[in-house]
């Protein structure tokens, strides 16, 4: 029985690290020309930064509100779980219709950032809520017994007690933003012509969409090499954020 479980678990254990290895090995030779990807790299980081900056206060407010509501928060939690399951492509399309076309913003950092914020909002809210829920209940009761009101409990007990979990949630949100392609493709990214956006209303180039465009040129070997390099850079960024989040999480459990 144990052997069967191991055999069934093998693909899940082996395939992701193997794929990661392939991406890094194939992309490594091109790292010497990483300066050619600086525009895409900065575009991806800017979009992720804007998305998470917009999402964080809302997600944190939502998580605090849900934590204060306790049991009555259940329907809202279900809604967040439902939103987490909505394909990001749908949010991208909505963003394109409303912001890019409806408000005539065009392909822009702001439109991409807002759509990314909507995409990561459910995940960040759930992560922040989980972080707040890990603050010992005894702390909350002790603080309330001392007459602290809700804002004081949040500011003086929950946020200081949950900061590591909140930071983990933020890093995971950044990693998720970097990994999203479809919302960015419809709202913010162009293939070329932009190295550094001049304002929030400028389009950007990003690593995700760069890989997408180059992969469409599958026959051209140089284009594919460049795509592998971009993929290696992107994966490295996601790994940095995810592993930092894991490290903080493990440290907080000690």
């Amino acid at each position: 029985m144990r052997g069967l479980v191991i055999v069934l678990a093998m693909p899940a254990l082996v395939l992701p690290p193997a794929l990661l290895g392939v991406i890094l090995v194939r992309g490594w030779p091109g790292m010497g020309q990483i300066d050619a990807l600086l525009g895409q790299l900065s575009g991806s980081l800017l979009l992720a930064g804007i998305g998470c900056s917009l999402a964080t206060p809302i997600a944190l407010g939502l998580a605090v509100w849900l934590r204060l509501q306790e049991r009555q928060a259940m329907p809202w939690l279900r809604l967040l779980q439902l939103l987490q399951g909505v394909p990001p492509l749908v949010f991208g399309l909505c963003g394109m219709m409303l912001l890019v076309q409806g408000l005539h913003w065009g392909m822009s950092l702001m439109a991409g950032g807002i759509v990314l914020a909507v995409v990561v909002l459910p995940q960040m809210s759930m992560n922040y809520l989980a972080a707040l829920e890990r603050v010992p209940r005894e702390w909350t009761e002790a603080a309330r017994s001392l007459g602290l009101d809700d804002p004081a409990v949040v500011l003086r007990v929950w946020l200081p007690g949950a900061w590591q979990g909140l930071l983990t949630g933020l890093l995971l949100g950044l990693a998720r933003s970097l990994a999203e392609t479809a919302p960015v493709l419809f709202t913010a990214a162009v293939f070329s012509g932009v190295v550094w956006p001049t304002s929030l209303w400028s389009p950007v180039t990003t690593l995700q969409t760069h890989i997408f465009y180059l992969a469409q040129e599958g026959i051209d070997e140089r284009a594919m090499d460049s795509a592998w390099t971009a993929a290696a850079v992107l994966v490295t960024l996601v790994l940095i954020f995810s592993l930092s989040a894991l490290w903080i999480r493990l440290r907080s459990l000690r």
Partner: protein, 258 residues
Amino acid sequence: MKALPLSGNVSSHRLEVRNLSLVVAGTQILDRVALTLPATGISVLIGPSGAGKSSLLRCLNRLWDHWEGEVLVDDQPVSQWPGGGDALRRHLGLIGQKPVVFPGSIRANVLFGLGRRQRRTTPLDRIEEVLGQAGLWREVGERLDRPAASLSLGQQQRLCIARALMLDPAILMVDEPTSSLDPSACRVIERTLLELAGRMPLLWVTHDLAQARRVAEQVVFLCQGRVVEEAPAEQFFSHPKKVESREFLRWHVCDCEL
């Protein structure tokens, strides 16, 4: 050993509970509880586990707000307390079973219940006063900026007492304050609370009959959410009136549970 009268201000406050009932998820936790706390001294709330003792304390200070009945503090209904539940909880101190100290220094913990301005302006004398009342000043007076978590469990519990006293509560409620402590720490806490009982009324929850005999002046015996008997300690322990009380004193179980 009973409440030790001390020199200093002695507060005289009254707590009265009338027909307090609490239902949680369809289960009757408290059933028409009625009791009166004397103006000073220690009233001990005893009863088996699950009798509703801790729940009652949380209703009295409105940590739980969904009960029926009437609770009066100094003839003022707690449901209409000026400033709401938060203000009421500053008036009715509550010490929990396990000591809960917040991350930060001993000083920060003592001042935790105060507002931002008061935390900055409270003089050292006041900190010394409350830590002294909690029997902790001699041990920590020289190291107020050390982490509170570095204290022993018994010291942490006395720190919690000092933190509650900093708010100058009218009545102190303690919920099995020694249940997580070793016998020597337990003795120190008991002595500290007995000294405090000379200053203010104390409502002390315990299921430890030996402790109840040592500290109680008034006993309220609670079983399955009902007050079975309320009597002066001497009378309750020597000549309990109710069969359930006699059974509990003999077997440590309540007849209502059988």
